[in-house]
Symmetry: C2
Subunit: 396 residues, 2 copies
């Protein structure tokens, strides 16, 4: 699938994406360090916290996309770097708050920030990263002139609102226990929550730095929306895949969290009445939380045996009571999650989601051919082509 | 104390502030509704959530200050209203996240947002209010021209960073158990966390809308910093005062939370070694949390008696064990908080804080006389004078 873009030069393309990502990740991290130091000097603790997620293992797709679009359109690296750093800072701020909101346990191969530093510091750290994005965007007025700087601010403001809206939509489904959802509902949520700030905005920011024409911007939006949808569906599919230890999230964390995905929505729509009822009963249950009364109780009962307040037989009887209680009204169990998994498998949920992702990837491919015609060959253009194929490969 | 500003017209001044606040609060709320509707149409749930705190009983000091400064300097109401609304939206976003970070139970006479709608929705709601502040500030370019719009964005960006820094400072003291702090440490934190976005920024935004000169801006900053410090110290003093049911926070919530205040820091510095040790032991304990393992445990044990898993004697023995455990290593008790209160009283903590607040209020008074000389008489100027006196009156 590599090198399908018309006019791409031959060469060792399989490594192109990895090299491009790694090189730009370093540049962007250096820029982020500079921004944090300049914006908030002297507070080493807050500074370290803000760099925690950015420094973990990550591909840096968003800033690389921003830079590649800008440079493929003739913009300079120095012109786009601060805005690309902002794109990555916003992403990390979003992840920190998203992990709190979803109750995620891990992120990028380590514990989520609110678990290592507590919810208060994590909420504030996300706010701090957000706060520091404004300075570089305002400094763009000197760097790029008012027109381009304001265009970038407009793009950024819209993306930030849309990701809030997508998140609000998802949280309201969770809060109200809504599961009767169409694929279009899912896509409307993902378009705002993920596509907007992860694909469309990085591309439009890069285009704005390069001073791209509106016609080209429209083509870019269409390309990146399709690419973003394919990417997110594939992200959900990867979360489902068991045993991929290098994926960096808890295994099938989405099922434990009760996240709305195409696979699960399809299975719920296709399942027999009784299975759907059982699935909905499971999905109403919260995931087991560290620090819940039940979790604390097991520790306390062990302590009571040691202090001879109760004996071992008493402890065992009480633990059996707790297990019965958890099974009837408590939290999701591993058996519950396995039930959901089987339901998805039995009704072809994975094939369904792959099909939808494939259609979005095909749309992206069509748009890419149009875009590729107007872009001169460069390593940056080739990287965008690589990124498109990377998303496609993730899909099937 | 009313009407001390030179050149102020005679009249029924005791009501001036209340009338001015009420009138502008309505205008600002209407503008906030417009901004939320325009920025995020169609999402009624998120919209209602964002209006929850703004619609609760509140004075609206910040936007009123912003408008009054602008108009006292000759600016128009329509020019400043969107930016004043942004000031109030930022304040509410900050409060929503601050309540999560401090574990506050109530806000403005009702339960904190994260307690009524959960932490996930509250984190996202604060992010949403923040996201929606960018649009009106960017639209200022059309309304006010580029120069003034960019100046306002600069002021806003600085305030947002400073309030993050102040919050990070306070959280790091809590996290690291730091209590050996001077009044200057406290003031450095408050200057960034509260004064900046609550007093200095509203004033500077108003001045920027009116196109004020740099010399006047510097005078304004100096006036508003002193006023903001006096205000925050008085806010801390009010929190300590018991029995003021109309104050809208939990009684002495600051002591339960272990907040660093001038009163407590002074008492810790002045106390005998043994009392200081006891106070620090208390302050290390968390406040009792609804839903802690211990709280859930009492319920569970009662359930076990009902289901004959254990008998009443067993339950009583276990509860005694839990009480011993809580007393030695558990959460703050009412006796603990009373001990802190007495320590503050015994060492003149309240008088000390009042004295410091009084000195800041006196500085504000001096600056105000300078400012008042260059401002023509108007209801807006008189409101600023009223606000200064209001802060002073709160102080003694």
């Amino acid at each position: 699938m590599q090198g399908s873009s018309p006019g791409a030069a031959p060469g060792p393309q399989p490594d192109l994406g990895a090299v491009y990502l790694e090189e730009h990740r370093e540049l962007v991290l250096e820029e982020i360090r500079r921004i944090i130091r300049a914006g908030s000097p002297g507070d080493d603790r807050a500074y370290r916290l803000m760099l925690d997620y950015p420094l973990r293992r990550a591909k840096g797709l968003r800033p690389a996309l921003c830079i590649a679009v800008c440079r493929a359109l003739g913009g300079e690296r120095e012109e786009v770097l601060p805005s690309a750093a902002v794109v990555e800072m916003y992403h990390n701020a979003f992840l920190i708050h998203d992990d709190i909101e979803d109750g995620s346990l891990t992120r990028r191969g380590g514990p989520a920030l609110h678990r290592t530093h507590g919810v208060p510091a994590a909420v504030n750290c996300g706010d701090g990263l957000l706060a520091l994005t404004l300075g570089p965007l305002l400094a763009n007025t000197d760097r790029l002139g008012l027109g381009r700087a304001l265009r970038i601010l407009d793009v950024y403001a819209r993306a930030v609102i849309e990701s809030f809206e997508g998140q609000a939509q998802e949280l309201s489904w969770i809060d109200e226990g809504t599961w009767q959802l169409t694929d279009a509902d899912y896509e409307s949520m993902v378009r705002r929550k993920t596509c907007s700030y992860s694909f469309v905005a990085p591309g439009l920011v890069g285009a704005a730095v390069a001073g791209a024409e509106p016609r080209l911007e429209a083509l870019l939006v269409s390309f990146l929306e399709s690419l973003g949808l394919a990417f997110q569906i594939q992200d959900d599919l990867l979360n489902l895949e068991e045993g991929r230890a290098d994926y960096g999230k808890e295994l099938a964390g989405d099922l434990w969290e009760g996240k709305r995905t195409l696979m699960l929505l399809h299975a719920l729509r296709s399942a027999r009445e009784a299975d759907r009822e059982e699935a909905l009963r499971i999905l109403r249950k919260p995931r087991p939380a560290a620090g819940s009364p039940e979790a604390g109780l097991a520790d306390l009962l062990r302590g009571m045996v040691e202090e001879r307040i109760i004996d071992e037989a008493g402890r065992a009887a009480m633990m059996r009571y707790l297990d019965r209680r958890a099974a009837s009204s408590g939290e999701k169990t591993e058996d519950d999650v396995r039930f959901l998994w089987r339901l998805i498998d039995d009704h072809g949920g994975i094939e369904h989601a792959r099909g939808v992702a494939g259609r979005h990837a095909a749309s992206a491919e069509v748009r890419w051919r149009e875009l590729a015609e107007v872009l001169a060959d460069s390593v940056h253009k080739r990287f965008i082509g690589w990124l498109k194929d990377y998303v496609v490969q993730r899909t099937w």
